[in-house]
C-alpha cells in the first residue's frame, strides 16, 4: 500500500523535500481559481463543488491519518 505521507523528492527552490500532503494542499488550495471550474454534471444535473468536496475530504482524512501516524511513531 502506498504511504500517503511519504516525503517525495520534489523540491522547493532550496532543494528541500516536500511532503505529499503539503503538495496536495498547495496544488488544490492555493492559486488561481477559475470561476465555475468545479461544476460537474451528473445525469444532466449540475453538482456545484462536488469534486472539490471529494478532494477536501481526502485531504482532511490525510491530515487525521498524519496525526495518528505521528502518535504511533512517538510511542
Amino acid at each position: 500500500m502506498q504511504n500517503d505521507f511519504e516525503t517525495v523528492g520534489v523540491l522547493g527552490g532550496g532543494g528541500d523535500e516536500v511532503s505529499l500532503l503539503e503538495i496536495l494542499d498547495h496544488v488544490l488550495n492555493s492559486g488561481v481559481v477559475i470561476h465555475g471550474s468545479l461544476v460537474i454534471s451528473l445525469a444532466g444535473v449540475d453538482l456545484v463543488y462536488l469534486g472539490l468536496n471529494v478532494v477536501l475530504t481526502s485531504v482532511e482524512t490525510a491530515l487525521s491519518n498524519l496525526q495518528i501516524e505521528e502518535k504511533r511513531r512517538q510511542k
Partner: protein, 224 residues
Amino acid sequence: VSRILAYCGFRHAPELALPALGVSAVPVQLASYGELGLLWSEVEWPFDPERMQKSAVEFHGVVHYVFRQRAVIPFRLLSVFDDQQAFTAFAAQNHERFLEDLERLKNFVQMECVIYPAPSQPQVDRSSGKAYLAQKAVALRSCEGFAQAMRDAVAHLSSEVRVREAKNGTRIFVLVERGRENDFRQAVSVVAVPEHLSRRMSGPWPAAEFLSEQVKMPESAGAK
C-alpha cells in the same frame, strides 16, 4: 473528453527553461500573451481519482520547474478550460492583472509555518461544555501568541505576514525575498513553541497567498 489544464503564469523570457511533460506525461505547451507566459496541457477530463496524488505531484513539478527560476502565479489543479479558445479569451481578459502581480512579487517567495496540536497533547476534555471551551480557548491563545512571536521574529525579513486559522491549526504565511529562505528558517526556529503544540515549516512556495483578489478569482469565460 479533453480539456485545457492551466499550470501557471509567469513573465516570459527566452532564457527560461520550460518543462517538457506535465500531468499524465502529456506535453506541456506555452501560450504567450504579451509578456505573460502560460503553461498548459491538453488532458483527459475528469481526472482518474485513483491517480489524483500522482497528478498532484506532476502538476507541482511543472509549476516548480518555472518557480525555481522566477516568480509564478499557480493555477489550482482542478482549473480547466473547455478549449484553447476559452483559454486564450481568459489570457486576453486577465493578462494585465497577472503581469502586475508578477511584477509586485517578482523578487519574493512564500514561506509558511503551521502550528497545530501536538500528537502528544492531552485528550480533549469533554467532561463538560465549559471545560471543553476553556481548553479550546487556551489552545487558541497559544496559537495567537505564537503567531505574534513569529511576526516579531521575521519583522526584519518581511512586513507581509498573513495568518489563517485552519481546521487543523494556524497557518502563517510570510512573503520573503528570494534567497533569504534560510534566514526565515533560522528566525522561526528560535521562536519557542507553546506547550502541546507542534510547528512545521515549509517553503519556498509561489506567493499564492499574496496574490490580488482579482488574480486569485479572475473573470473568465468558458472555464469549466
